[in-house]
């Protein structure tokens, strides 16, 4: 057993910078590279892509990243774990193998973890009494069953570890939890068992710190003036040890800032009850973690306690929930806010005049620059200009598009000072509703498969 492994976390979401993983592989020692490509609604986008093209439905950014790093990854022996498989891990596997063949990289073992995608089984599960009611408001799933777009269970670290044990250098998963991307290597390397709750809880804390990439190394940090060289911001490297103690660090010479405060900032991100952070492998107590600076750009976490997981997986479902459109114009002063309010009234009035009135809960108006993000806290009464941002949402796509056509005419038929109409008419886009639920663990069976280039 190794006494230490180094796991980099180079991607926080679909759309994060490609420079994270490229630099982690290039700029310092690394055993594992963990990459998160999925957000809650990403799966629904991928299902749509797959329904149009059976070879689509995974994070193509991942393949683009490998196109720039594969030789180096193969040479250095870095093992990559990514949830880039989306709703089509098999197609992602084929794309990666194809890339390896094209590049002449021989003997690269690529594995996939499958079984999280339960969309096709929803009717059968409902019939068997697994009601998957909405965790937030208790509504029955049957309410949205006809418009479901995706349904995936959050898989834990042991499936990732199983794929590593079969020799995969690149592990492609669908909907595994973000922490499992770093928990998998720890379980694999250190031989942790499903009842090692404290250690699994430590891996959960480590994964939570890393899961947004540079957000623990100075990104989005309150005291941003203290952050050095945002351009070459360092991405986190977790140095894990067999007893669960780990150190968060970043490669030498990289920018950003890594202190106890930047790590605590990220520990609090998207936190619910810090005493009871539920995951598929354990319940972690984030308040038990001892967090210490043990050197420059080195923060050690020890003493994490955990308990047994529940007997259910969290399942993330998404469904079509109507249409929306937003658009914006800039309103120059003097009297920018007063004129922006008039403009909004004109748009709603003209739509009503044409028989297309929207209800209060379908409409949105913001005066960006006058105190939108800090409404009721920080507001400005007379800015030199404001951005008038308006939007609607409803079930009728035609009505949403009708709204979109009534914004730009303000330039010539409203008060003076209306400009900034770039981008044309706002178009209706799908609203994807998010439906969190629970499902008995024995209903989900994961499978791993490894192929070689």
């Amino acid at each position: 057993m190794r006494d230490k492994i180094q796991i980099g976390y180079g991607q926080g979401f679909w759309g994060d910078s490609i420079l994270g993983p490229i630099r982690l592989v290039d700029e310092g020692p690394l055993d594992y590279l963990a990459l998160d490509y999925l957000a809650e609604v990403t799966m629904s986008i991928m299902q749509k892509l797959k329904s149009r093209n059976p070879d689509a439905g995974y994070a193509t950014d991942f393949v683009r990243m490998l196109d720039r790093t594969m030789e180096q990854i193969a040479d250095k022996g870095v093992r990559v774990i990514a949830n880039a498989g989306g709703v089509n891990p098999d197609a992602c596997l084929n794309a990666v193998l194809e890339l390896a063949r094209k590049k002449g990289v021989k003997g690269l073992k690529v594995g996939i973890v499958e079984g999280d995608d339960i969309l096709a089984r929803v009717p059968e599960l409902l019939a068997a009494g697994h009601d998957m009611k909405n965790m937030d408001d208790g509504r029955p799933l049957t309410e949205v069953q006809d418009t479901l777009l995706s349904a995936n269970a959050y898989i834990g670290a042991f499936s990732v570890a199983e794929c590593l044990a079969k020799g995969a250098q690149i592990v492609i998963c669908g909907r595994v939890t973000d922490p499992a991307l770093v928990g998998g290597p720890m379980v694999h390397e250190f031989g942790w068992q499903p009842t090692d709750y404290d250690k699994l809880a430590a891996s959960t804390v480590a994964g939570h710190i890393g899961e947004c990439g540079a957000q623990c190394t100075g990104g989005n940090y309150t005291r941003w003036r203290d952050v050095d060289d945002f351009v070459r911001i360092g991405y986190p490297v977790i140095e894990a040890t067999p007893d669960g103690t780990f150190t968060v660090t970043k490669h030498e010479g990289t920018g950003g800032l890594l202190t106890r405060d930047t790590v605590v900032s990220q520990l609090l991100y998207e936190m619910g009850d810090p005493n009871n952070y539920l995951g598929p492998d354990c319940a972690a107590d984030f308040t038990s973690a001892k967090i210490e600076e043990v050197g420059p750009s080195r923060v050690q976490i020890s003493g994490v306690k955990g308990g047994p997981p529940t007997d259910t997986y969290k399942v993330s479902l998404s469904y079509q929930s109507g249409y929306k459109a937003t658009g914006q114009l800039t309103i120059a002063g003097p009297d920018a806010i007063e004129k922006a309010k008039l403009c909004a009234d004109i748009v709603w009035g003209r739509l009503a005049f044409d028989g297309c009135a929207f209800a209060e809960d379908e409409k949105m108006v913001e005066f960006v620059g006058a105190g939108v993000t800090h409404a009721g806290i920080l507001e400005s009464n007379d800015p030199p200009e404001v951005v008038l941002r308006m939007g609607v949402k409803c079930a009728d796509k035609a009505r949403v598009n009708r709204f979109g056509s009534e914004l730009v005419p303000l330039v010539t038929s409203g008060p003076p000072g209306v400009t900034g109409f770039a981008g044309g008419r706002p178009k209706a886009t799908d609203i994807v509703g998010y439906w969190p639920a629970l499902l008995d663990k024995d209903q989900v069976k994961t499978r791993v498969r490894v192929e070689e280039s």
């Binding site: 900032s265 973690a289 001892k290 993000t373």
Partner: protein, 104 residues
């Protein structure tokens, strides 16, 4: 004691949780932790976000991080994917909390 803005001595981070947000706020010494535990009551925070949070406010303590974590229910205008608001994920609610004035 004097009135000060929380941003003078505390840091924060926020993000989305269903149709609400979480706001984590922390300080760097035990004395200030007592201050924020005393001053940042659920009622004070709810009042501060009166134009943003339309649901319940829940508070958790994490003494190892000298932190408080608040859940602001119904504060995103319909949840991350359905909201039309600019800050549909509550990304800047943390900075909003730091503008609160408290006794220190």
């Amino acid at each position: 004691m004097a009135k000060v803005k929380l941003k003078e001595f505390a840091m924060a981070r926020s993000g989305d949780k269903g149709d609400g947000s979480n706001v984590g706020v922390f300080v760097t010494n035990a004395a200030d932790y007592e201050v924020i535990k005393r001053e940042l009551t659920v009622d004070r925070v709810k009042q501060h976000f009166h134009d943003i949070c339309f649901g319940e406010v829940v508070r958790y303590e994490a003494p190892n991080m000298l932190a408080l974590n608040f859940l602001l229910r119904d504060s995103l205008g319909g949840g991350g994917s359905e909201s039309l608001k600019t800050d549909a994920q509550g990304k800047v609610h943390g900075l909003g909390l730091l503008e609160i004035e408290i006794e220190r």
